[in-house]
Symmetry: C2
Subunit: 451 residues, 2 copies
């Protein structure tokens, strides 16, 4: 049964209090979510009972921004929340099937630590770990790691390319059956099946081997989110899941075709990489109820927070000097996230939005696809994106937590299941099995197979 | 009741297959312990049921050594095992009271990551986290982080001093009640209770604030193990638990008096720092049974492994060129662990050991205190060390796992309890409460209190 019909892959993207910028102020939201472990245990168990493929956590190694007037009114911007790997490792101990994708930046980490922590998480979880590789585009993070500013865009990606290669190389330092652990002969590991890395590159010099046995999944699943040109090329070469942001099906289809089209030159198949755009669903039994629920959240956005959020997303330009109810001014090219800036400007121009309208427009989904409607409205659009090759699945971004996750699970999932678009039970016990991704064999096995 | 009578503090120091170098070959040992999460869940639950204060994990960010002939016959030397923070975070989710101390080196880490991960673990566990601060003295680790050799002893400690200050400073960037999270007013945090660090030192430049709220314990418990002169001074200034290695009560008493004597100049009390030597107990119902159990393990030591282990501990000098049954040659001063070298040489000279006898002598406890005897023998000596101020407690190093932990819990703990030396139940739910350590108030509170 499983695997015959193509079905949606679904991630639960858990921002502590939910994705809407004002979610924490809602009466039903867990305001202390960023340091409330029981809150996350509850969410993980609901997402697993609902058969989500994975839980996805974003990350910033530092608070993003120093505009205290806005920051002290928000639960977002990484002001105070769990570090993702520690959180997901703890959640792995109280779940059985759901996968765990933690974001970790290549800008301010060492590849040995990252390779080791994700391999460890893969063993702890029995093959349910994934790494969302990002580059950091925030000076605020750089300031916590001895630098005055973050790396320029090109250098950031050059470093990320090499970082990914080192991590993948470290994951391949042990073959699958490298550890006979034979008590009689006293042979713990087979030296022929250990491979020293000896990487010497421009940014990193790493000998290896990794001091964790080969991961149950071969490699933890490699996830990426960059959609700039170097980001797409890195994804086409190495990523297995791409989390992306699109406002329209046309944009999503173009991205999908472009990225899938780049796979062949790296010897990869169409299904070796799953594209999962973000979706911010506000669910109501009627459209009116959905609009009312959304308005409740929008009404809680403090103007200082909305404006600051927009500033952060528009490359550091201070928009407060322009009239709130006037048009978006021209923005200079930034060293930050180019794709995010373009997406925002396109949105504002397309819909002819004022500054105020734009910040309210992105207060929920932060540039991701936002649908406010009934379960049927939402399922219709998800189905259309899926069937028309705009998406292999979605990273679901609940507006508020925990209730936004309940709404999706209780109302939208049954509709997707009725249409045969989502699983009734897990296909396997590893993240790869559920995502339908191959287990990467050790390169030495390929060599044997080719003989 | 609790707190009136001074009692032993006990750690369970869990090396994957146990501390004896050949433990993994024993028929009852879990040979795949380094990647068997269920094994650790079982150990943690037994240690918690037995009311141990904490579980302690050592660490190396890389395999120690490249002598494949020896390495491929051992489950130690960090060949392949869980990364400690991911492992302890997962164990926190399936326990309620026991503390968790993970080792992390200041040599190849960033203080922001370390401060953040331990603060996160403290929140996840409800106040049960501790950080064992070590410096790395292995070139093999250095090779995984872009360096040709590890830092020289003095520089290592200079870096460690500054690293500790940055981490402590980051843990103090939020006051206890910094997060009102007031939904009506929209105030998530109180900017007056956030403190930017802005550290600019010789080794690190870190702005902060930390993006995790103040830890439930104020600070996770700070543990250290260095016993060189700069190691003692750093411990006297900052450590709350010191894990140490002594072969004789005289050495242990001298160390205890010296370290406790250094506290006053930093404004600290005698009980603000707990000294917990390692103890490697081989338990038998009779002395003969204990000796037989020990001999079973000793017989499993392959000479190549024993010799290599000694080489590693004697500062890299290749002892295989000397006669196995002859005396230990003079060893040059090393850039590695000076205190460990001295301890080994003193032991060999005191007991007039050959090279072979020395490696068998340390094959179990690796320089720590080893007792082979009945529960009463072991309790007698622990009591003597405790009453004569050689120890505030012990870090128990089971020879093999899981059975070595069972032996101690089933036979030695009842004897300690009969003597009133160990708790019947936890005093509290945090590691600090159980260790009898003060919760550090935020410096701003001290300022208020002093007004």
């Amino acid at each position: 049964m499983a695997g015959i019909r193509r079905q949606l892959k679904l991630g639960a993207f858990l921002y502590p209090t939910g994705h809407h910028i004002a979610a924490w102020r809602h009466p039903l939201t867990q305001a202390d979510a960023g340091s409330n472990f029981a809150h996350y245990v509850g969410l993980a168990q609901i997402a697993e009972a609902a058969k989500f493929d994975l839980i996805f956590l974003a990350d910033g190694a530092g608070t993003r921004g120093d505009d205290t007037e806005a920051l002290h009114r928000t639960a977002q911007r990484y002001v105070a929340q769990f570090e993702p790997i520690t959180l997901l490792s703890a959640l792995a101990a109280v779940t059985k099937n759901i996968g765990f994708v933690a974001t970790a930046s290549t800008s301010f980490n060492e590849p040995y630590h990252i390779a080791r922590k994700f391999a460890s998480l893969d063993h702890i979880s029995g093959g349910r770990a994934g790494w969302n590789l990002v580059t950091s585009s925030s000076d605020h993070e750089a300031h916590n790691f001895g630098r005055d500013e973050h790396y320029a865009h090109a250098e950031r990606y050059e470093r990320a390319e090499e970082f990914a290669d080192v991590v993948l190389g470290l994951w391949d330092t042990w073959e699958e059956d490298a550890f006979p652990r034979n008590k009689q002969s006293g042979i713990y590991y087979d030296p022929q099946k250990q491979h020293i890395l000896n990487h010497k590159g421009k940014h990193f010099k790493v000998r290896g081997p990794l001091n964790v046995a080969r991961a149950p999944q071969g490699h933890p699943v490699l996830v990426q989110a960059g959609s700039s040109e170097p980001g797409r090329e890195l994804a086409a070469r190495t990523a297995e899941v791409v989390f992306t942001a699109h406002q329209t099906i046309e944009d999503a289809r173009a991205f999908y075709a472009d990225l899938k089209g780049r796979l062949a030159k790296y010897g990869r198949d169409h299904d070796d990489l799953k594209i999962m755009p973000g979706i911010f669903p506000v669910v109501g039994r009627t459209r009116e109820e959905a609009q009312r629920k959304f308005a409740e959240l929008q009404d809680l956005v403090h103007p200082v927070v909305g404006l600051s959020m927009l500033n952060g997303m528009s490359g550091g330009v201070d928009l407060s000097q322009y009239p709130l109810d006037g048009p978006i001014p021209d923005l200079p090219e930034t060293n930050g996230s180019k794709s995010r800036q373009k997406l925002l400007l396109d949105l504002a121009r397309r819909e002819n939005l004022t500054i105020r309208e734009l910040y309210l427009r992105i207060a929920g989904a932060r540039g991701h696809w936002q649908i406010v409607g009934t379960p049927i409205d939402i399922a219709d659009q998800m189905e259309e994106w899926f069937r028309r090759e705009a998406a292999d699945g979605f990273n679901v971004m609940p507006p508020q937590l925990p209730t936004g996750l309940y709404d999706f699970v209780e109302h939208v999932l049954p509709e997707l299941r009725r249409r045969g678009l989502f699983r009734n039970d897990y296909e396997g016990s590893t993240l790869r099995e559920n995502l339908g991704l191959k287990v990467p064999l050790h390169p030495a096995r390929h060599a044997v197979a080719a003989e």
